[in-house]
Amino acid sequence: MKKFLTILGSFAVVLFLMCAVIEVALLFRPNVYAYKRQYMDEHLHDIKILLLGSSHIEEAVKPELVGEGTFNLAISARLKEYDAALAEMYVPRMDSLKVIVMAVDYTNFFFERWILNPASSHHAPESLVSSCRCMHTKYMGTRIDPFWYWSEILNSRLNFMSRFWNNRQKLQECDSLGYVSLDPALRASDWEYRALPALIDSTKAIDPQSYQELYDSYAAVARLAQPKGVRLILVTPPVYKTYQQAVNPIVRQDMHDFCQKLHEAYPCVEYYDMLYEEGYLPEDFNDSSHLSDDGAVKFSHLLSEIISRRRQ
């Protein structure tokens, strides 16, 4: 027993050391989270329009087309509570800020009512909660969990080891203003059926706790924006027809009611639902719910119009 435990223990020590070395080495490799934090710290006082959200904004809005002083702080797979945490970190210190744009994603409104969509190419959506928590805690400085450290080697599912064999440009993922361009050549053959939403079990009631959590995240951002006279523009970006077909009108109505409730509590909130926006072609999409570079150009112009419309 003693020999077994000694050898097992020594192996565990070596294993721990290996993981620790990888973990430390990863700290010195570039990544999109670290880049965006660095940009925010350096340009805090110059940013006029701040984009928050997940891949539906990160890959859909080209800041240079929206207006001067725009930065895309959205990051793929980000949870709304992290948007709120980032806003709390930065917004109070941003002197030039005029507009915050935040995504309202259809998939955030399931509230425990979802069921698998058989039409989707990838059935069970992979949970990226631990990746989101880990990367935001390590590289963006958000402190919304009781734990101060989340190990990347155990928590990140974002192909983290590839960071050792990719160059800086590839690792940064985004352009200098935070936009991530999706290469149309890499679009999957079954792109129309990728990233489809789950279906809804309409017999189930909305889970009040998850509803309140989502509301609190948006309300936290609105509370920061309102006293500064900053507009909080909520947008639901366009999706492809395969996605539109899977949209449940009940959930869409819930989205609208949710945003109306926010607007009533915080008049700085505006909501634009572009889920069924016309004028988008198949080549404007990378999958059923993410825009391609062409689509991002169209959507960025549209967003720019919305922002300037109220300014005038």
Partner: protein
């Protein structure tokens, strides 16, 4: 709580520490009691509502075993045979009730409706208890082995119940036989260093095949089956050839983990696979695939049938093999695809039986280069393709879907969308590496038994290899998929 999870690691750490405490090592009863307790806790995590069923059936069979032995001791041979039959009927009844009742009722109803007899059957809402196919086979073999006088009935209920519920194997096997397992429960287990170390290596290998190979190949095969109507034949062919490897990596992965956990507790659990893709014909394949199930059915179904049909010569063997394989197929679940899967394999046995190749066990040898002989390799490839066709039937939701998939495979053409990206190619390389390792390590129980390589006699080199495997698991672990054999 699956074996490759943090919760199991925590659970097993507690089990392991307490199991080897000096106070429990005083007598086998203490260790068996602890094993029984933790096995029920483990089973409760999977399906706590079925604990009364597991406990009840264990109690019944324990009494049946003792009753049977008493009648045998008193020379009541007829009564003993009847009690044995009762035990077998009870075990099969348990399986039929929970697993097949609705299926047979629906099938009968369909059949009667098709010949014009209108029958309306309300199916019962029966929940399939997890692991029922595995523990009922243990219960049945216990009674039969007592009747065959291969074992004495267990006088200690704790010991018997711990054998039936032994947590590493209760959910998905291997199906341990009482004549091999119960004697192991009669001794106090102190930690056997070599066995425990080998168990750790086997668990590591099982995790690698399950998490890096099976779970990643599952993404490719699932994509192919979801849209086989529109995908090109090349993709469907790739999926059809990858599915047997996925299934093997999944089930062998689980079996290795279960056997490894058993070894850490001092138990030698039945082997479940013996490098099945090195088989040169279907008979050899079934001697290497899911050994604990095929061995069970061969001993208790095929051999008695073979004797019963002996007057029919080779055709008697054909009939026995056919029944045997259809039963193996149906054991997997209440679906005609499984029956058809078994029947298909039965058909493949006919030329082997008639040519006499069925019973021949030719040793697999390497040529001077350490590779298989070309003829052997050709037969391995051919057998693998036959197995892959069988798994199309096995994987399909129903028979018509199996035919539709095969039709698409033959007619969809060569050009079209791809479901295999750069990572997919990497996972296919993992699958190929697995088969090559199978060949290299064909004499060993698992791939990490490396004693014959001088390089690996040094501990630092072995540690480096284990670290590399762990790194591969961390890096390439696929989206977690349930173990395929849990559903059976």
């Amino acid at each position: 709580m699956v074996v490759n999870s943090y919760s199991f690691l925590l659970f097993f750490t507690v089990v392991f520490i307490v199991y080897y405490l000096p106070v429990l090592r005083r007598t086998p009863r203490f260790q068996n009691a602890w094993l029984l307790l933790v096995s029920y806790v483990f089973y409760g995590f999977a399906d706590w509502q079925m604990i009364p069923l597991l406990l009840g059936s264990t109690l019944v069979f324990w009494f049946v075993g003792r009753w049977l032995r008493r009648e045998m001791d008193q020379g009541h041979r007829v009564a003993a045979s009847r009690i044995t039959t009762l035990g077998v009927v009870l075990g099969i009844g348990l399986l039929l009730w929970f697993k097949y009742l609705n299926f047979f009722a629906e099938s009968l109803s369909l059949l009667l409706n098709s010949i014009g007899l209108s029958v309306s059957w309300t199916t019962l809402n029966i929940v399939l208890p997890i692991g029922v196919s595995f523990f009922t086979f243990k219960l049945i073999s216990y009674v039969i082995e007592i009747h065959r006088e291969h074992i004495m009935p267990s006088s200690d209920f704790l010991e018997f119940a711990a054998y039936i519920a032994f947590f590493p194997t209760i959910l998905s096997g291997p199906i341990d036989r009482p004549d091999k397992f119960l004697p192991q429960m009669k001794t106090v287990h102190t930690l056997d260093y070599l066995l425990a170390a080998d168990g750790c290596r086997q668990i590591l290998w099982g995790m690698f095949t399950k998490m890096c190979i099976a779970d990643n190949l599952a993404i490719i095969t699932a994509s192919a089956w979801e849209s086989y109507e529109s995908l090109p034949s090349t993709m469907l062919l790739a999926a059809a050839l990858l599915y047997p490897v996925q299934l093997y990596a999944d089930f062998d992965g689980y079996s290795n983990m279960a056997i490894g956990v058993g070894k850490l507790l001092g138990y030698r659990v039945n082997r479940n696979f013996d490098h099945p893709f090195l088989a040169r014909n279907m008979a050899e394949y079934w001697r290497r695939w899911h050994i604990s199930l095929t061995g069970w059915i061969t001993d208790y179904v095929f051999m008695p049938l073979n004797i019963a049909f002996r007057n029919l010569d080779n055709w008697g063997v054909v009939m026995a093999a056919m029944i045997n394989l259809v039963l193996i197929g149906l054991w997997h679940g209440a679906n005609w695809t499984y029956g058809a899967f078994g029947f298909y394999h039965g058909l493949l046995f006919i030329p082997l039986i008639l040519s006499g190749a069925f019973a021949k066990k030719k040793k697999l040898k390497a040529n001077d280069l350490g590779l298989p002989h070309l003829k052997d390799f050709g037969w391995m490839l051919f057998t693998f393709c036959l197995v892959a066709v069988g798994h199309v039937i096995f994987r399909a939701a129903d028979i018509s879907e199996a035919f539709a998939f095969m039709e698409s495979l033959c007619t969809n053409g060569l050009s079209g969308a791809s479901i295999i990206d750069a990572y997919g190619m990497l996972y296919i390389l993992f699958a190929l590496a697995l088969i090559i390792i199978e060949w290299i390590q064909r004499q060993q129980e698992h791939a990490l038994q490396l004693q014959r390589f001088p390089l690996f006699s040094r501990r630092p080199v072995r540690f480096a290899l284990y670290l590399l495997i762990i790194l591969l698991i961390i890096t390439f672990t696929g989206r977690s998929q349930a173990f395929i054999y849990f559903q059976f």
